[in-house]
């Protein structure tokens, strides 16, 4: 990742969804993105929340992508008729949507040949866009220009963010290490992870759960700009997990 000293790198968040504006859902993605960007040396400068209306999404996206170095959107990429984020991003960039062959291949591998129209909706990506990995579950997000389009479900959004950080240019360089826990779910991991996270507010600690051969597990990703703090925190977290009764803990390649 490129490093530019003394230049402020900015981002905006665009939250898309009637469920936030109706008050039905409490957004937590803004805070998670803000912290993640902060660790990467990118300042979150503005956030907007708009409803599931094409012209609103397009207008907000165009205003924000012109003004800030990066825009991260959350929400509206599921399979239902009110999920119109991909359409809006394509319209904002003046390009067409196409069914991305990698997503179709992923979904076919999972669901077999029978991809219904709803599922095919989730394979639509604007022409010229690249995929953003989804390490949790379901189809990937995508990126086009300076815009990253992520899921609205918080656990999936956080997982996708891990594929955004390495593509950000200009902020401070961060380094990461990954601890893999097997045979223990987040119900056991949450308390020690939270305690360690609170003791290191300048770092980013993410938990990306999976269901594997030994039942639930999780990849815990630690990020920092300070290699010494990172190394100390890895030791601290492994100790805290072990003390909490987690048996299978080891560091892995990210």
């Amino acid at each position: 990742m490129a490093k530019t000293e003394n230049k402020r790198v900015t981002a905006a968040v665009l939250i898309i969804g009637d469920e936030i504006l109706s008050g039905r859902t409490q957004d937590t993605n803004l805070r998670d993105i803000a912290r993640y960007l902060g660790v990467h040396g990118v300042d979150l400068a503005e956030a907007r929340t708009v409803s599931d209306v094409m012209e609103e999404i397009v207008a907000a996206l165009n205003a924000l992508r012109e003004r800030y170095d990066y825009v991260i959107t959350t929400g509206g990429i599921g399979p239902t008729h009110d999920d119109i984020t991909a359409d809006a991003v394509a319209q904002a960039f003046g390009v067409a949507l196409h069914e991305h062959p990698e997503i179709i291949a992923m979904m076919s591998a999972r669901w077999g040949g029978e991809l219904n129209a709803a599922r095919r909706r989730m394979a639509r990506v604007p022409q010229g866009g690249d995929l953003v990995k989804n390490p949790v579950q379901g189809p990937p997000g995508f990126t086009i220009g300076n815009v990253f389009v992520l899921a609205g479900v918080p656990a999936i959004m956080r997982g996708m963010l891990e594929d955004v950080g390495p593509r950000l240019k200009g902020g401070a360089v961060t380094i990461s290490r990954t601890i893999r826990v097997e045979g223990s779910g987040e119900g056991v991991l949450a308390a020690p992870l939270e305690a360690v996270a609170k003791a290191h507010p300048g770092m980013s600690l993410g938990s990306y759960p999976f269901f594997g051969a030994d039942g639930y597990g999780s990849n815990l990703v630690l990020r920092s700009r300070d290699p010494d703090e990172l190394a100390a925190t890895v030791v601290e977290l492994i100790a805290a997990l072990t003390a909490a009764g987690v048996a299978q803990v080891r560091e892995v390649e990210a």
Copy 2:
């Protein structure tokens, strides 16, 4: 509160504060305001979060107050140097600030004659503004034009909202019902949901997925201003879901 049938009344929320954009503080005011407005028949149509920078606040406030029936701001009305919301609102309206005699009287009664500069800051209100009662603690908020300026501290913000509701000229009240589906994901729900939504263009049908004990599920929220159409659509949607093979469907309290 006046009820006007068939007219959509809109509002925007402007959240002011670096602590939200840095990720240090989790905002909860947006959801509380959205719910409060919904009960009063006012639709929250947009929200923006900006930093403690004069031009940013002024620009966002002017854009929002022009476009929507009401704007509610939160944050930046405390005693410290970075609390510049009153200054920004005065500038947006092109009026001067003055020390409001009622606030000075309240604060003098509480703290005696010795009002320092920091406390006097909190008495400043744009010329032509009225006070918004603070039933909790500390100085009141204020309102000018179609803008309500409230505290950022959630408990105080909620208290101030109680003095906002009676001043809103509301639209028709929207009613909602919620159907909970368990054990079936949006890939299955999307088609029947979309068919029902298309048949009722005047209603709002949202799908809010979750991952629970039986795997994927979703809360389907139906909103309408017409109780008869709402009741009929609930029956119709349950039938459509059942026909699509969804086994666990029931109405729940929203």
